[in-house]
Point group: C2
Chain length 330, copies 2
């Protein structure tokens, strides 16, 4: 198998945590030994161990037939431990990382320094870190190449690039396979949990006034147990009934507004809504995330909009299809 095969494994793993690493980028890493896959890992949450670190820990466990006895998500402990491994332990191993290892000390120690110390046989990078002051990790490393599946590795971090300068806008939609959005709950529990994970992470949940008036949703994170997001209700008229459950949840702000200027602020904005919101936000949407249920329906509620997309990644969530796409033309 070639470099592209291993990089694709790293990419697929990273997509499982897409946007959940906010404000960090999604990153995946694979460690191999003479072509044998020792570890496939991804960064899971900002402030915890990076993908490279998790993959190296896993590879260490596989090769040493042991288990590390500390919290592997604790980046400082993980780095400290990996720095104690004998210098030649990984000398025949290669690591594939979708993004150039960080050269700076942030909330976690530098991965480039770690990889320099461990001196792997090959370091293969998908794409260089495009953030000014973050790059340069490659320069520390011998036997390092970049540009494997570069376009796909760049697509993976597109949200990260966008939320450096303005809001990254994800429009989430649940539909049947023939594009109907009405008819009760459309998604599997696994899909619903996934949505609630995004609600936990996002800075703002943006929703259309009509959806609020009609569905009276709570918009909490009851399937994951996390804190409910702040909500912006996009409405020309401020006639929203303050008695509905949405307003009763503690420690959240709900704002009714017809002003979308807050999208200029670097942040992660999750949009939930139907045709109205889709058309109102048309020029603002970065990505669509469609949960497609395995069902054809005669329910007439659908959505009309002309929009070209590029499919970025597809996966299953229980019985549903999870379809990530980019809006084309911006």
């Amino acid at each position: 198998m070639n470099d592209e095969f291993y990089m694709q494994l790293a990419l697929d793993k990273a997509w499982e945590y897409q946007l959940l690493t906010y404000p960090n980028p999604a990153v995946g890493a694979v460690v191999t030994l003479n072509g044998t896959i020792l570890a496939v890992e991804a960064h899971k949450k900002a402030g915890t161990s990076h993908a490279e670190v998790l993959a190296l820990l896993k590879a260490y466990e596989t090769l040493s037939k042991s288990t590390v006895d500390f919290d592997r998500m604790d980046a400082q402990k993980a780095h400290n431990f990996l720095h104690t491994i004998p210098k030649d332990f990984f000398s025949e191993c290669s690591i594939y990382v979708t993004l150039e290892p960080c050269s700076h000390e942030g909330r976690t120690p530098s991965c480039a320094t770690l990889l320099e110390t461990l001196d792997l046989k090959k370091v293969i990078i998908g794409t260089k870190d495009p953030i000014e002051g973050h790059g340069g990790g490659m320069e520390y490393l011998k036997h390092c190449t970049s540009g494997i599946l570069e376009e796909a590795c760049q697509a993976l971090i597109e949200p990260f690039m966008i939320w450096q300068k303005r809001a990254f806008v994800l429009f989430k939609l649940a539909q049947t396979t023939n594009g109907r959005i009405g008819g009760g709950y459309l998604s599997s529990k696994s899909s619903l949990r996934h949505v609630h994970q995004f609600r936990e992470k996002c800075d703002t949940l943006l929703i259309g006034g009509n959806t609020v008036r009609t569905d009276r949703p709570t918009l909490d994170c009851r399937f994951t147990g996390g804190a409910a997001p702040d909500v912006m209700i996009y409405s020309k008229k401020d006639d929203i009934d303050r008695q509905m459950p949405l307003f009763t949840i503690k420690n959240r702000t709900v704002t009714v507004t017809d002003n979308l200027n807050f999208l200029e602020k670097p942040s992660f904005v999750l949009v939930e809504g139907g045709e109205g919101m889709l058309n109102a936000l048309k020029e603002k949407i970065d990505w669509m995330l469609i949960y497609q249920t395995p069902k054809l329906s005669t329910n007439q509620l659908s959505y009309n909009i002309d929009m070209n997309l590029a499919f970025l990644h597809q996966d299953k969530k229980d019985v549903d299809l999870l379809l990530w796409s980019r809006r084309i033309g911006h």
Copy 2:
């Protein structure tokens, strides 16, 4: 990585040739050496080398750093060659096959006998051959286990099981991501070529009278250069204009009928049509194959039907999503 990982690689490869192996089942195979992947292959066409044989040839080439100099699709030549390889050549290798290797001599020699001779370290099988008189390949083999990703391996050969006893009915549909079927060509060239490959393979292309009257399609295989399929036009009234291109293609039979009894005959029937045909055939459809284009559209032509599906496999065809599903409830 565990057995499931390698079996999934074999499955994914086999799906690339789903239905193209007709009347054989789709089968995938992976050869590994101490966890390193040496080959990922699939059966491509009935009468040619099976998946195991192609995978062993590829593994041989990888290990010996040489290239075989005969037509590897010629099963007899491939078997003859593999029988000459020293007995211990593959002794540290494992093979993963989605379906139990054939024990009988058919159009090609027995794969079970070949694997017995080559005496691999492990033979891992997805599902046993369910056809009476075909199974038993496992009994020849030492170090052989079965039942890895069994449900998925059984789904892979579901068409094969069905066309043993009656027609396997595949309903093909091209749509936008919001379920619209109107508005001109919806599919990428790669998707169109894929459809024409199925047209070449099927026994009958079934199409609705309304589609023929409205679209006046040619229903040939111009993107692949193969012979055009026999066509059944399903129509209550025999008022189809015989001057349209569909009728001018040589060596094909076109029948106008309102009788679907031909579906009782073991065969592969490809259905192309819209809402009318989908509803008319509702209880006869086995699988749906949806080519989903990365586009949302305001075109109003959609399709209404209540049908539960199970997603079986998804893949990309150029920019399109290829979505295989089974109709639930039969």
